[in-house]
Symmetry: C2
Subunit: 196 residues, 2 copies
């Protein structure tokens, strides 16, 4: 019996994720058929669905990748920096977080309302981003950089709401470079205010 | 030849809009077939498409209705009040601006990226809201209520970005009542700051 190493399994999983991300971005969630996923990953459906239960699980794994990557940036630089990176990526048609990929989020978002199981699985993926944002804000508060007249939970929800707006805006392919000073304003509005 | 009064035409147009709004909200944009639009409006396809060129035009007329209604509120009370009204409507499952109707916006938003003509028609509908928001902010600035260290265009784009986030959030059917203090923060962040 051949022994399949963990490294090999991880590499295979990565190959599936990378290929299917491009495939979803290009054809949309519905348009990414199993046949197209096979072509994009260079693997058979058997191999793909050995690693992921179904197309939805594959998509949610990609969403989780995004959340993990964003949470890493949040921990170091905050959620506003995540938004700046999204602005940069959108103008570069980045395959990782470009408008085409973000468009698939919109495609599935209507389903979030009608499919409770899907909503719960999706929510699990975004929890880590909320936790990272909240932790960063608490840390900033202790360092005396945060405004102290508004609860940290409100500030967290505020930043996440702006992120939702930005994701939606970019996914629709609307012009976005004018949003750069808007993000400066958002960042400043959670900071401690000195007298102007 | 029967003379059809303008009042009659207007009433018929209103009947079509109201019925089709419920239909889109219930079945989604794609799911709102011509047959279902007939049932929801109580009119034949001939009558419906006498008033509106096609389903897309009907949908865009509804989006324009929303924009007009929002622009009216903006002129009197500002864009943050529009957002508060959206929060209220979402908890009441309002047929006019409830989550089901907002969900159709998400459904078509992916198309905005790929269909340039649709994007231009959509943009025309939202221009009046931008214009109303900008006018309101300029008026507030002259009254001395607005912060003067950030350009009015940036503040307009900021409020619209938060609105996009809220529309997306509500359309996904996510819990939203915790966003009320967030909207207070948004309102306060465009105001002139006195020393805290």
């Amino acid at each position: 019996m051949p022994r399949v190493s963990q490294d090999h399994l991880d590499a295979r999983r990565r190959q599936i994720l990378d290929g299917s991300r491009s495939c979803f971005a290009r054809f949309g969630y519905e348009g990414a058929t199993v046949r197209r996923l096979e072509e994009a990953t260079g693997l058979s459906r058997g191999a793909i669905f050995h690693h992921f239960k179904d197309k939805e699980s594959l998509f949610l794994a990609l969403a989780e990748d995004d959340a993990t990557r964003m949470a890493d940036v949040v921990a170091e630089q905050g959620l506003v920096q995540v938004m700046r990176n999204l602005l940069d990526a959108s103008s570069e048609t980045s395959p990782a977080l470009g408008a085409d990929w973000l468009g698939t989020r919109l495609e599935v978002s209507r389903r979030l309302r009608t499919d409770q199981e899907f909503r719960e699985r999706w929510a699990q993926r975004s929890e880590q981003l909320t936790a990272a944002t909240r932790a960063r804000l608490l840390w900033q508060k202790q360092a005396g950089n945060l405004r102290d007249d508004v609860d940290v939970d409100v500030l967290t929800a505020y930043l996440e709401l702006v992120l939702e707006g930005l994701l939606s805006h970019l996914a629709m392919g609307l012009p976005a470079q004018h949003l750069r000073p808007v993000l400066d304003l958002v960042e400043e509005s959670v900071r401690r205010h000195r007298t102007r």
